[in-house]
């Protein structure tokens, strides 16, 4: 199948996209010679730094969340592939400080391995860091088997609250505890309605039959969920929210955030329909939709579908959520 993408040499794709990204958001980020995305204005050395890593091709994630109140450094890999340990080690060295580094890793085999090798090397060099793994995809494994749960868009709320805590001068231990609390109380489920192509190879990365949708699709189109007839926005919202609320054991009186993340081809219009229904369903259960977001945060090229991430909020997490931030893909004043 011919790929309809405006690209140049696939080998230069990531470098070129990062150069363009840095130009588009020059007030917030810059691209270093060793291909790290760092803040345009460095954070004070006495504050904890946030570092993450992950494949490219998911724009604006993850580099779109580098900026005040969020990440200090993102280490982009290749398209859908984690960066190698040398680059990750370079990021940890760059961020090194007495206050320490909060190292946020999404649970994917490549990211975890790269983080482990780089982390072991960094520890030998005396670099102080604390690793937090995000693994909130309920379709990949039950809550009792966290090792096998993938990290999806839930990394972003974690980065938001931990980043706000770091900006406020909280200690590494406190930032890590906040990140883990946010992580433990959240869950994500993805639905895909149409596939995408790998921009370097042109290979179809997810085939979804006409008229069907797949619930429980990973962020690279990994198969693994239920294929079912395409449903309405309301019905889809119900199926997904029910499974998510069940997973986090949400009860009447709880306050939740809901983050709807478009996969690339699904319109904002559709996401708004889903969010509207989510709010109504939560009301029926006596649960408050305390914060919500709908947009494209972590995409999979032109894949159709979205990820729904829900999580519990308390007073402290709400305050951190509301704290100002200034990253290309998440600003709040």
């Amino acid at each position: 199948m011919a790929m309809k993408k405006l690209i140049n040499d696939p080998d230069n794709l990531v470098q070129e996209l990062l150069e363009g990204f840095a130009l588009a958001h020059g007030e917030q980020v810059c691209l270093t010679d060793d291909r790290l995305v760092v803040r345009a204005r460095e954070k004070e050395q006495n504050k904890v730094a946030l570092v993450t890593l992950g494949g490219a091709g998911h724009e604006p994630a993850l580099s779109g969340f580098v900026g005040e109140g969020m990440l200090d450094i993102s280490v982009p890999g290749e398209i859908f592939a984690a960066p190698g340990p040398p680059k990750v080690l370079q990021a940890l060295k760059t961020a090194q400080r007495e206050a320490g580094i909060l190292f946020i890793v999404l649970n994917h085999a490549g990211d975890v391995l790269s983080a482990k090798v780089a982390g072991d090397m960094a520890a030998k060099e005396g670099i102080r860091f604390e690793q937090v793994l995000t693994h909130e995809d309920i379709s990949s494994a039950p809550r009792t088997d966290p090792d096998n749960r993938r990290g999806l868009v839930g990394c972003l709320p974690v980065i938001k609250v931990a980043g706000a805590a770091a900006e406020a001068g909280r200690s590494l231990e406190e930032c890590a505890a906040i990140a883990r609390r946010m992580e433990a109380g959240m869950a994500t489920l993805a639905v895909a309605v149409s596939g995408a192509t790998h921009p370097s190879t042109g290979e179809v990365i997810a085939e979804i039959e006409e008229g069907t949708m797949v619930v429980g699709m990973g962020q690279h189109g990994e198969a693994g969920g239920g294929t079912q007839p395409l449903k309405t926005a309301d019905e889809t919202a119900e199926i997904m929210l029910e499974a998510l609320l069940d997973d986090i054991d949400a009860k009447a009186g709880d306050e939740l955030f809901v983050l709807l993340n478009g996969a690339g081809a699904t319109t904002l219009m559709e996401l708004y329909l889903v969010l509207r229904r989510v709010n109504a369903l939560l009301k029926e259960r006596g649960i408050t939709l305390a914060r919500s977001l709908a947009g494209e945060y972590l995409t999979v090229q032109e894949m159709g579908g979205f990820q729904m991430c829900v999580g519990k909020l308390d007073e402290e997490l709400k305050a951190l959520w509301d704290a100002p931030c200034d990253a290309p893909a998440w600003t709040r004043s």
Binding site: V14, G55, G77, E78, I79, F80, A81, A82, P83, G84, P85, P86, K87, H108, A109, G110, L113, S114, K116, V117, S139, S140, D147, N148, R150, H198, S200, T201, E203, V204, I205, G218, H220, G221, E222, A223, G224
Partner: protein, 213 residues
């Protein structure tokens, strides 16, 4: 020939590069079953880095070459395969420190150190439908033949055969690890791309060594 010296190690890696590059598209197709279809591309990038390391021709020492290859592969932004193979070669380098040639017990020990170095990075074990299913039998066969003091061709033939059989065996397995585990039973019938890469690597070693024997 019983001893693997620096020039024959270079030729062995040239064999690996040729063998893997030949299978690039095949590897990507295998990966599209349970992954995102880029394993061939990633392996091709890794081979490019290995070729750079071979061409750099620094100090002509086995350990130095293995270390350069390990670092080069670690630097490939390619998901799990870079750190795994990279740590394997780095661990082999550590074990080969100071050796001018590898033969018999030492050859066995260097490859076993590589295997341990890789296994230390992952929870995947035999039967999980990963590269471990090809690597463990390959290293076992290589070590047994090396300890039996067979010549290099026979040693690497045994390893290549065992790796190929291991990769073939992954067709019968259900993925329990990595990205492909998410497709469960659908993974049965198709070989694991990582295990297949290990088979092509060991077949490349064999070819590189026997072509110049």
């Amino acid at each position: 020939m019983k001893a693997l010296d620096y020039p024959s190690l270079i030729r062995a890696f040239e064999g690996v590069i040729a063998s893997v590059l030949e299978q690039k598209d095949h590897l990507s197709r295998l990966d599209s079953v349970g992954g995102d279809g880029d394993h061939g591309t990633t392996m091709a990038r890794a081979m490019g880095k290995v070729a750079d390391a071979l061409a750099a021709h620094g100090e002509e020492k086995i350990a130095v070459l293995l270390q350069e290859i390990g670092w080069a592969i670690l630097g490939v932004d390619g998901g799990a395969i870079g750190p795994l193979l990279g740590m394997m070669f780095l661990s082999m380098a550590e074990s080969a420190e100071g050796l001018e040639v590898l033969e018999g017990e030492q050859l066995a020990a260097v490859f076993e150190a590589g295997l341990s170095g890789l296994l230390a990075q992952t929870k995947a074990r035999k039967g999980d439908k990963t590269l471990v299913d090809a690597l463990v039998p390959a290293v076992e066969a290589l070590a047994a033949a090396a300890r039996a003091e067979e010549d290099l061709e026979a040693i690497f033939s045994a390893a290549a055969e065992a790796a190929t059989a291991g990769a073939e065996f992954t067709k019968t397995l259900q993925a329990r690890f990595g990205r492909a585990r998410h497709i469960g039973e659908e993974s049965i019938g198709s070989a694991d791309p990582g295990a297949s890469s290990i088979a092509f690597i060991f077949n490349g070693f064999k070819k590189g060594i026997s072509d110049h024997a």
